[in-house]
Symmetry: C2
Subunit: 403 residues, 2 copies
Amino acid sequence: MPNPIRLSQRAAIMPASPIRRLAPYAVAARAKGLEVHGLNIGQPDIPTPEAILRRLREYKAPYVPYGPSQGLPEYIEALRTYYAGVGAKLSAEEIFVTTAGSEAIQFTMGALCDPGDQVIVFEPFYTNYNGFAALNSVECVPVTTSGADGYHLPDRASIEAKIGPRTRAMLICSPNNPTGTVYTDAEIGMLAAICRDRGIFLIADEVYREFTYDGKTSRSLLTLEGMNELAIVVDSVSKRYSLCGARIGCIVSRNREFMSAILRFGQARLCPPTIEQFACTALTEVPASYTQGVLAEYQKRRDVVFSGLSAIDGIRVRKPEGAFYVCTGLPVEDANAFAIYLLSEFSLDGETVMVAPLDGFYATPGLGRDEVRLAYVLEVPKLERSMRILDAALTAYRAKVGA
Amino acid sequence: MPNPIRLSQRAAIMPASPIRRLAPYAVAARAKGLEVHGLNIGQPDIPTPEAILRRLREYKAPYVPYGPSQGLPEYIEALRTYYAGVGAKLSAEEIFVTTAGSEAIQFTMGALCDPGDQVIVFEPFYTNYNGFAALNSVECVPVTTSGADGYHLPDRASIEAKIGPRTRAMLICSPNNPTGTVYTDAEIGMLAAICRDRGIFLIADEVYREFTYDGKTSRSLLTLEGMNELAIVVDSVSKRYSLCGARIGCIVSRNREFMSAILRFGQARLCPPTIEQFACTALTEVPASYTQGVLAEYQKRRDVVFSGLSAIDGIRVRKPEGAFYVCTGLPVEDANAFAIYLLSEFSLDGETVMVAPLDGFYATPGLGRDEVRLAYVLEVPKLERSMRILDAALTAYRAKVGA
């Protein structure tokens, strides 16, 4: 008798990306001739450092060979220099180059968790953690953070209450996507203490490390004492150098057994992209002024979006401390329906806005239904227009649905 | 009480790549000043088509943005043209661009199999199928093929005997890595019939599609009747255009539900590399003469390696029909020890050879212990020298171990 033809359970539960699932509506809106301001995805419009683009153009080999599974030695050297600047002295064996931060998270989950194991996440969290968990048959167990607290962490007892026999790791992101929150040294220290006391790994997604505003700084896990065995950092050049499409990230850890497993995982997929690694060897030549300029620009954008949102009737929002996102509740019942309305029914002077509904950034069902994430990755004039569009659309939508 | 600090079971069972696990010995050999001929890995030395390299140099955007999760529309269009040439008329939705063939296999396994499910493979098989299976907590169930039969398939009953309630798919590779075997139309037809009758998916790794010698051709799964629901092709530009480091592959299937799951898997990792996809849009401009020239070169190399191996005392080898690999038994007990001997103790005129022990290409324990895979991806004079080195090394090694 034939087996029934069906896909796997994990294919069934794999969620569509809330960042990308509205893409067909945006395509249709653009086909109608509308200008769609994409605040749904963290795709910076800031130029890549010239040194990196120049190195890219210097790629002159007659073919494009495999590199080592752990990354090109000269790129790993560049990363060692970079991390020394972050305050972490690393050996080459403590760095493993990945195909973007995505693969870094996926490999890390796979090396720590078997099917059915759990990872504690702080919701709202970067939605694709759900996807990597589904791929690995791992469960994301949420600790809920609240906009009223600026999405900072709850007390130790509330976090420890979520730890069970199958808890293998905590996964944090600071500066945070989607909330823009930067965890304090005390918060990072508390999580490290919990992990040490309970024997679980602490994974930090630090891809927004440099993006902190108002003089704040973000503490890297790599600079903590007593965490060599448990601390794992996942990182990427995507946001730092506007290289989202380059797909170059890394895993950093001083746990040798873990890094040996990651190497074996990495050997199966042979290597990360060669040409972009070659281009990124130039990151040691990126002047500090580049990052300062980027930061100043994002802080300006943050201010425009924050004051724009604050001025909208029915919106209460906290000023984000870092990254380039802001989460906000909207005076609607169903942010997803509103996001579709923006793309399919609304426009102002031939323009509209694309946002990411926040429900997909929560693991707890029912949360985030009236919230959205905005990425302030466009120029100030576009952001100003986007805030006006959002304001007008909310008024029109509420009139339509009778809210 | 703290949980015990340990990695996952899948990290424990994830095998080191037999293609790459000898890399430290090669590094040491090169450090001693030896020239090491790398026959261990399918890394072509043939130039990439000029049209693709030219397009690469035309990448002029000021930053490197994310592309769509399913791939750049213009690259998907190029692939549609390519597959039309293979005899398969495809819609854009039937193609999903992946980060190399590796991700294509990994996503496919994940979409078809839950932890504990099984995929039938024909051993010796491309060793990294083991790695992707471990990542997905999936079991590779081997059907053994034999060098005496030119690694062609056994009869239908032997294959069906391996199908159980947890069998989700068969995974084949033709032209084959590591054996060089090209399955006949009758063999492909038999597998398709089994899959239809038993309700399991048929996955074909066709990355060596064009590499067939002596006038043979390889039948693509995409040209079979009655397999729209069950046929899945994984593909890559790595070998076809000497772009191993570009990390551009794809999944092709007419099963819409499967492709929808793959899209959701793909959204989690955002997108494949942007710059290389852009470069590969030029594949429609690659002249037929490029592939003909590559093929003629590989056939020449195949002949040099085959006649070289055939002349070595104690080696019995079948002439490979395609790809650029040959599997051969060696007159030694432990091919792994011999491979290490080649790198750490032997040299001829300052040169030695790196080979891939074949035991890692089997799932059945104990098989392949006296076999190796050679990739004929070097120029003819180097291959001729490599055969002489292998001959001399076997004589010296056997004298040493008293064989």
